[in-house]
Symmetry: C2
Subunit: 384 residues, 2 copies
């Protein structure tokens, strides 16, 4: 038996061809395509296909997949009614985990796995992927209306995933520039090797649980503050700084206390996270176009102060820093940031689910036992 | 980087003092107490405390815990209404994963973890444990009525967990002998080291996700046919055999085809699973008391035939074989067997969640990358 490594850091938990990180060179690639190429040229729909199928889709296949996703956006009214019975105070990630777990009852089709054999039927895997990927954004947007006491907005077929999501969230024609930024954000967050939520998806998937159960497990795992919750915290952190003039003093104070500064640094990268560089460019463009808002302004001031103090240590703003600011600027409520992360990462989770099924073995690691020796009798109450 | 071991078999994924298996000697012990001692002398309430706290409770502490569990059995009507909107065709494990994920909105109290720091507050951990453990059996029983179009039965405070579960499931005074068997089944299934669902709970819990998210992830993982679904399959397998006279020929046929025989053998044990021996004794007692039913009869005939053919190879009926038969004999629907497993295993999952929090590190293993080299440009449609 191997020695126990906390968090299994450095322990290979799978073989995968889906994504690749070189943390020293600041490279993230999906199926060999550097993230910069995808953010500039691809769409979330195409990137999802790339992740799932392993190669760039041909025009007709992409068109068909896109149409399937558009046709599968509607959500049954019983799901809406279930959501109406959930407390308005519930965190959107709780609603999402619960709703996705229920989705399998409304949109079944898991017969292929229930025989206990690995499913080789790619049609089945593809159909399940469409059913889930198409409905995630709508379910997130629905909750925004329901928790405020309104009926949700019906989806539209004439918009991209990013555009339809913004439309369903806001109830108005989406701004094309915001749609472009949202699409790029979905591309950037879609996959990131074996993080905790993806690992949870592999473990769940390895029992041949349904993909709804698998994605629900991954959502629950992503909901933890050490994983998906960081970009939510960036905005409240920036708001607590109050004004750009305070940024430098605030940072010094935090550094002196060795406190956590949300949105800076990343375990996987010793140089700047390539996704952060891309989002930073988008943030600058948005500044030029919309003018600098208060949160933007504070973010820029904090970034400048941090550049000087943290840059030499290789600590830079990460993907969460900029995505949080961009979403806030689009008027998206803070607690919806992690659900947007989940919408995007579902593409990666489903790609890993599919890869796991193609060469499955149930995860059953071992433990280092640290408990007592065996007792030889049941202790009476007076012996305890 | 270490080499990849499929399923992480033999790779230590945690340090744990909760349970211990010696597969060669047929030993399973919780906190040092062999399962035979617990099945004979303990109750599910006491065993849960043993698993959670690490030691046998004193009389007053056990009494207080038991009272807390009784006081927390009621389930809010909005949860019932949510369940009424779920399709009656839904598998009880889907309902359970979805309902438990929603429970955190109705019974919050997770403030302790949301700061992103590990929680040292044992009161908090204890309170969350009670909220979940107390309501799991009721939610399983509620679905049985709702899916048949009836309002669920309100819980009673004067019964044990096992007794109240049977009462809520059947709507009648529980048979004391059945209550005793159900209690023993809950003790026997409560914990089994780092299986896939427990591992999923560790991975989810390591992000500091709420315990509702964690238990929901574990339920989703348990729902897979390679993990929790085996005892469901035992009964349909026995029914398909049709009569005791067919058992021997049926077995020979299956063995000749190298087909899977549900309820036989266990990856962890090379001798007979100690839980199976205990359940076998209970099954015999039940036979003497209630007479032999058709399924019992077939089960006994198959066991006899298998003893001769598989015994010499160290393959015996396992825990799923007997628990499935016992539940069927109590008139419990087959698809509720895995949810009963989940009710019991929640004690173990919560004990592992607590242990993980006490020395947390987020799970982030690595991968063996098998994908393409980096591409240097975005392919045009004609290049694909």
């Amino acid at each position: 038996m191997s020695e126990f490594v906390p968090g299994l850091e450095g322990v290979a938990a799978t073989r995968s061809s889906i994504s690749y990180i070189d943390g020293e060179r600041g490279i993230l690639a999906y199926r060999g395509y550097p993230i910069e190429i995808l953010a500039r040229h691809s769409t979330f729909e195409e990137t999802a296909m790339l992740l799932l199928d392993g190669k760039m889709p041909r025009a007709d296949a992409l068109e068909e997949f896109d149409q399937q996703l558009r046709r599968n956006r509607r959500v049954k009214y019983n799901i809406r009614e279930m959501m109406k019975h959930m407390p308005g105070s519930g965190h959107p990630m709780e609603i999402l985990q619960s709703s996705i777990a229920s989705l399998g009852m409304f949109y079944p089709g898991n017969e292929c796995l229930t025989g206990g054999d690995v499913c080789e039927d790619l049609d089945y895997v593809h159909n399940m992927t469409v059913k889930i990927l198409a409905r995630m954004p709508g379910i997130v947007a629905m909750w925004e209306h329901i928790r405020n006491g309104y009926d949700p907005i019906e989806p539209r077929k004439d918009l991209s995933i990013a555009g339809n999501f913004l439309y369903m969230l806001k109830g108005e024609e989406p701004d094309p520039e915001y749609t472009r930024i949202m699409d790029a954000c979905l591309v950037l967050h879609a996959e990131h090797t074996i993080n905790a939520s993806t690992f949870a998806a592999l473990v769940s998937g390895s029992t041949l649980a349904s993909p709804y159960a698998v994605i629900s497990s991954a959502i629950g795992t992503l909901s933890g503050p050490l994983h998906g919750g960081a970009n939510e915290r960036v905005v409240s952190m920036l708001e607590s700084i109050g004004s750009p003039e305070n940024a430098k003093a605030w940072l010094e104070q935090k550094l002196a206390k060795k406190a956590k500064i949300w949105g800076f640094g990343h375990r996987e990268y010793s140089v700047k996270d390539p996704r952060a560089t891309i989002l930073q460019g988008m943030m600058k463009e948005m500044c030029e176009r919309c003018g600098v808002s208060r949160v933007f302004d504070i973010a820029l001031a904090l970034e400048e102060a941090a550049e000087e103090r943290l840059g030499p240590k290789g600590v830079y703003p990460n993907v969460d820093y900029y995505s949080g600011i961009l979403y806030a600027e689009m008027g998206i409520p803070t607690d919806q940031f992690t659900p947007i992360f989940a919408i995007s990462r579902t593409a990666g989770w489903l790609a890993h689910w599919r890869e796991q099924l193609s060469d499955n073995r149930i995860y059953r690691p071992t433990q280092v036992y640290t408990g007592p020796e065996l007792y030889d009798h049941y202790p009476s109450m007076s012996e305890r």
